[in-house]
Symmetry: C2
Subunit: 254 residues, 2 copies
DNA sequence: CGTCGGTTTGACCATACTCAAGGACTGTGG
DNA sequence: CCACAGTCCTTGAGTATGGTCAAACCGACG
């Protein structure tokens, strides 16, 4: 198995040492890689939820379609993310998920997840934390939608993406690739595509942000974070800290 | 221990049979009941997260404070809810939590949660599902904020509360108590208090919704659900169905 | 070279915000 | 029993942010 097929194992090793059993449990989630094209749907709203999946390569998003034909995007997924964790509770998917670029996904059945619950409390904890992180991202977006101007919304979202990408590619500084059209951004931020365009123009004229095709450039990060009122704590991954808590006093653990 | 002190056990029994060990694990979460007054804070944003808590009686909400003094409420908690599940990942609380009425809470340390992970895969599954449900509610609210008018927002939120309350008090029909001021509703919905007032007036004049103090009356539920574009699937608790899935093929379980 | 998706720009409009004043009700102390 | 403060709600007038519609543009790609 190639390393690029073991996104999750790599990801999790970042948080805690894995023994063989654990590595196997995780690797089991990525046993069925499958290439998918841009805009391909992984599943649809209301359909029976048979599998989750790991996004090994490419970008995806979950969304809800509205009656009037518009949609609200709820989450953007990056390589290494587990997609569908939040759809775990109801047996039907609450959201549709579609690719935003071409990529590689690995579907796996719920059963693998419950296997992890029964076998490894440590992995369970990490999974719980991952779900929590996704929720934190959504909470932040809720704040964004409710209490910020279009300008702040756009800036804040760019900051979020910038930071999330830096976590896996620490060499990113003030330039990065953002394969999202203005229509997609509008669907994320609850704005119209036209207004997103105007907002980009505004930011460009002020020299705060340049965007060309999918290329983003932020000349002065600090100034830009300021526009967005961006605070990064909600993305802080203190999972490893959390695990320490368990291991230190949790003699019952393994 | 009185039954009213074992909110969670009662709640969980709704989903699956509990053996003694499991009941004890859950009861452990409610060992330290504590009465709290209206508006009392359970914890504050950015503070070190030492405990979660079970809300045994009363209503509470989590929120994020903005620089300009306003706030965005993220979640409303009802009796029986576990508060802070989403704050599990980062060691600091990402949101403040305050009571909306007087009530009773039971704080418990993270350790209890990880104990459950190590001991009972079934409870773990249910907890995971509960976290998922809370996320589903937030997702729905995100849709609400991004893609609906003030009128729909207000109506939708009332519907959500109506349904959530009915789950624990099935005798509620078209009248119920909603102890939330218009300012609080505004903070939930990303509107101004003034506009919430106008919206209520509009709905009242159309005979769709009456509100007096904290009393809500919905003369025609179907018509009202229609105004809200409300679909109840996201609140459907299919946890029990999910557990069946585990038990049926999961011979490893217990 | 023409088509297509994505973007830009303008003109106009609507939804919801702000500010401000007044009203209704509750609880308090005289 | 009344005066008062305090909270919550209502209503009006003016404004602003962002939506809609429509046309033109631009670069990619067949």
């Amino acid at each position: 198995m190639l390393d690029r097929d073991r996104c999750l194992v790599r990801n999790f090793k970042h948080y805690c040492a894995l023994d063989e059993t654990e590595a196997e449990l995780l690797a089991a989630l990525e046993k069925t890689p499958q290439t998918v094209s841009n805009a391909q749907m992984l599943w649809e709203e209301n359909h029976f939820a048979e599998t989750l999946c790991v996004l090994s390569e490419g970008w995806a998003c979950s969304y809800r379609s509205m009656d009037d034909g518009t949609r609200q995007i709820l989450n953007i997924f990056l390589p290494g993310d587990v997609v569908g964790l939040s759809d775990f509770s109801p047996r039907r998917h609450l959201t549709s998920v579609a690719m935003l670029t071409e990529g590689v996904i690995c579907r796996f059945p719920f059963k693998n997840l419950t296997d992890i619950f029964t076998t490894s409390p440590r992995l369970t904890t990490v999974l719980f934390s991952l779900a929590g992180q996704q929720q934190a991202i959504m909470a932040e977006r809720l704040v964004n939608m409710g209490r910020r101007t279009a300008r702040e919304k756009v800036a804040h979202f760019i900051c979020e993406m910038h930071l999330r990408l830096r976590k896996t590619c620490p060499d990113i500084t003030h330039r990065f690739n953002l394969p999202l059209s203005q229509q997609v951004l509008a669907d994320v931020l609850g704005l119209s595509a036209v207004h997103v365009s105007r907002t980009f123009s505004e930011l460009r004229e002020e020299g705060l942000l340049y965007r060309e095709r999918n290329r983003i450039e932020i000349p002065d990060l600090e100034a830009f974070y300021d526009v967005a009122n961006f605070s990064d704590i909600y993305l802080g991954d203190s999972i490893s800290e959390l695990l320490k808590l368990i291991e230190n006093d949790g003699s019952t653990l393994r």
